[in-house]
């Protein structure tokens, strides 16, 4: 109980509350601008979090990402251009509703069910994390190795691309993590004599490059989205309570699917929304209404993408395995702030964990009033010309990455990873898989090397312990799954 009191004391401080408020406004604005994703919003915030207290730093990440995922729905519903990829799955449905003259209903569903989904996700985090932490305390390096490996394989399975390319991206990330002297012997590895590379590739500049610079590069190639006409909205929350009572099943299903997808490493809010929208259609009694401005799919997918956000923190906090790209960034912040992810976080820093839950709940509650304000101001915010916003983002990438270590080399890292991210995306290589590789590389290597040293070169101990054996089976299954799928297709095609 004293932990809980302490947690409240940690959260209800001026700097933390101010951080939540400002980050929420920032997240709402950035998320609503087409072409700026929630991940990008979070990545650009990291340099700022450097200078905040640990709890305030985490609060900014949580608040900004939750708001950005919701506000991506706004241009989706009004312009048919999703603000963030997480809204893309149901943009057509929301826009169809606007065309029927019900933009308030579309936006209200987005807001209300996002907030409820976010709270459901937080509950899952509260219920899942502590017992898993208890279990994880018993893990040895063998289990940790398999778990990290399984995390990497999951990221390749869930990518909407060729599994071979996803594995290649992940290996590329692991190769990047090899750079530097942080290896079993402390030998400079792939540093080419450059002292700047001795410390390895810094994760934050790499993420800023991959998620922000490559986005600006894409903007250079595409036409400016059309301007939003001024519009007066009626009541946003009208009818939402009735919809909540009417569509209980889709909402619960959306929450559960979102939570599961959030926990899977590498798959985040956008995947959750796609899966939930298609599930809503499959289970609906009136699937023919989908695409004509029907609330059912919006409710399920809107609940799902925000639920995935909180549950993505479960593997991140317990095993330093990011549940999605946003928690990939959050892990960097946790390390920076001395809250090193791991099961001991829940025993030694329990009050900080409770504080994290409280921040999630607060963020999802204030999302409703702030979201209503954002919707009403949307036609003004969305008129901001892209040619004014993108240049400032380029500058923020440069200054922000410099600020993380007072090192100009970080600016080069940002530029290089921007180009890499852009080229990869353009050629169908999933960037998220590479990011996971970069973040988890050192951990995978450490666990592998320590395990082999412990086992004296034998492979057997990797499968000896029951949990290790189960994890190993799952990992090998995940590794072989694309081969099975490919073979099965061949068989089916031959039969047809």
């Amino acid at each position: 109980m004293s932990n809980l009191t302490q947690a409240f004391a940690l959260v209800f401080q001026t700097d933390v509350l101010l951080a939540i408020l400002l980050a929420s406004i920032y997240g709402l604005v950035v998320g609503s601008l087409p072409g700026l994703s929630a991940t990008m919003a979070t990545a650009l915030l990291v340099p700022i979090t450097f200078y905040l207290s640990p709890i305030a730093a985490i609060a900014t990440i949580i608040a900004a990402s939750a708001m950005a995922i919701f506000s991506g729905d706004i241009p989706g519903a009004l312009l048919r251009i999703p603000g963030t990829p997480a809204s893309a799955a149901y943009t057509d449905e929301a826009y169809a509703m606007t065309r029927k003259g019900q933009p308030e209903l579309a936006l209200g569903i987005g807001l209300w069910f996002s907030a409820l989904g976010g709270i459901a996700g937080t509950l899952s985090l509260m219920l899942l994390a502590p017992p898993l932490a208890e279990m994880a305390l018993q893990f040895s390096t063998y289990e940790n190795f398999w778990l990290a490996f399984l995390g990497l394989m999951c990221a390749t399975l869930v990518a909407r691309s060729s599994p071979v390319k996803a594995i290649a991206s992940m290996l590329l990330g692991l190769l990047v993590s090899c750079i530097g002297i942080e290896n079993p012997a402390g030998t400079p590895r792939f540093t080419f004599g450059m002292t700047d590379l001795f410390g390895g590739i810094e994760v934050i500049p790499a993420l800023v490059g991959v998620f922000a610079v490559s986005e600006v590069m894409r903007a250079m190639m595409s036409a400016e989205p059309p301007k939003l006409p001024f519009r007066r909205f009626g009541s946003i929350l009208k009818n939402q309570w009735n919809l909540t009572k009417q569509y209980v099943a889709p909402q619960v299903r959306g929450n559960i699917v979102g939570i599961i997808i959030g926990v899977l490493p590498g798959a985040g809010a956008d995947m959750a929304a796609w899966v939930s929208y298609s599930m809503a259609k499959r289970f609906s009694k009136t699937p023919e209404k989908f695409g004509t401005g029907h609330p059912e799919g919006l409710i399920e997918a809107g609940a799902s993408n925000n639920a995935s956000l909180a549950s993505g923190w479960v593997p991140a906090l317990l095993f330093a395995i990011p549940g999605d790209t946003i928690t990939a960034i959050a892990i960097g912040v946790l390390y920076m702030k001395g809250l090193n992810p791991g099961p001991t976080l829940f025993t030694e820093q329990a009050s900080s964990m409770y504080a994290l839950y409280i921040i999630f709940i607060i963020a999802n509650i204030i999302m409703i009033p702030l979201g209503i304000m954002m919707i009403r101001l949307a036609s003004r915010v969305l008129r901001a010309p892209r040619s004014a916003i993108m240049p400032v983002i380029v500058l923020m990438c440069a200054v922000g990455s410099f600020a993380t270590g007072n090192n100009l080399f970080a600016v080069l890292t940002v530029a290089a990873f921007g180009v890499l991210g852009y080229v990869m995306e353009r050629n169908g290589y999933p960037v998220a898989a590479m990011v996971l590789g970069i973040i988890m590389g050192t951990m995978v290597e450490q666990n592998l090397v320590t395990s082999i040293m412990k086992s004296d070169g034998s492979v057997l101990p990797f499968f000896d312990r029951p949990v290790a054996a189960v994890l190993a089976a799952m990992t090998i299954g995940a590794l072989l799954w694309p081969v099975f799928a490919w073979g099965w297709r061949r068989v089916r095609m031959a039969a047809a």
Binding site: P47, I48, F50, Y51, R80, R160, S161, S162, P163, V164, K165, I167, A168, L171, L172, L174, L175, C178, P184, A185, T187, R189, F190, M217, R218, A219, M220, M221, S222, A223, E224, P226, P385, R386, S387, A388, P391, V394, L395, A398, V399, A403, L408, V411, L412, A415, G418, V419, V423, N427, G428, Y429, V444, E445, V449, I452, M453, G457, P482, W486
Partner: protein, 173 residues
């Protein structure tokens, strides 16, 4: 910068090969069976294998499905009267390199020119490249660096170089 699978696949084969070779040349740890060479070799060999499969077109069918979905959406968007991206010459793609080029410029210039002029140039070029009129781009290039300077130098105390433009009243020595 669209490259065929054969090109990217063969590049990965080469990169994986170089990584594995480079890894194998690393000095072992005396008295240990396993040292810093193992991980890069495993990753390099894996990368080369994947590259070979990509070049051979294995797994391509999954991408065709995703592309068909995308094509369907953009066709619908066009039908709604929203124009798709216009077709341009080969050189058009090089525009994408403007943001990283500006970051390179920042890297080389900021210590010599100072933060404000460098940031001004970055903003001006990026803004004009995105199609802004001078009426927007010039004031933005003057104001935005001052604002960023205020946030990072005053609030976060990041030492930004003053270069040839010392302005003590805004914190640049």
């Amino acid at each position: 910068m669209y490259l065929s699978d054969r090109v990217t696949g063969l590049f990965l084969v080469a990169l994986g090969g170089v990584a594995a070779y480079g890894g194998s040349r690393l000095p072992p740890v005396p008295g240990q069976q396993i040292g810093p060479e193992v991980f890069p070799m495993v990753v390099g060999i894996g990368l080369a294998l994947c590259g070979g499969m990509i070049a051979a077109g294995i797994g391509r069918s999954y991408e065709d499905e995703a592309e068909a979905d995308l094509a369907k959406i953009s066709a619908e968007t066009e039908a709604d009267g929203i124009p798709a991206a216009a077709h341009h010459s080969r050189w058009w793609e090089l525009r994408a390199l403007i943001p990283p080029a500006l970051l390179l410029f920042y890297y080389f210039a900021v210590d010599r020119l100072g933060f404000l002029p460098t940031a001004g140039v970055v903003i001006l070029v990026a803004s004009l490249a995105l199609g802004a009129r001078a009426r927007l781009a010039v004031p933005l290039a003057l104001i935005a660096p001052l604002f960023v300077n205020l946030v990072f130098l005053k609030l976060l105390r990041v030492p930004l170089p003053s270069g040839m433009l010392p302005l003590p009243w805004i914190g640049l020595p």
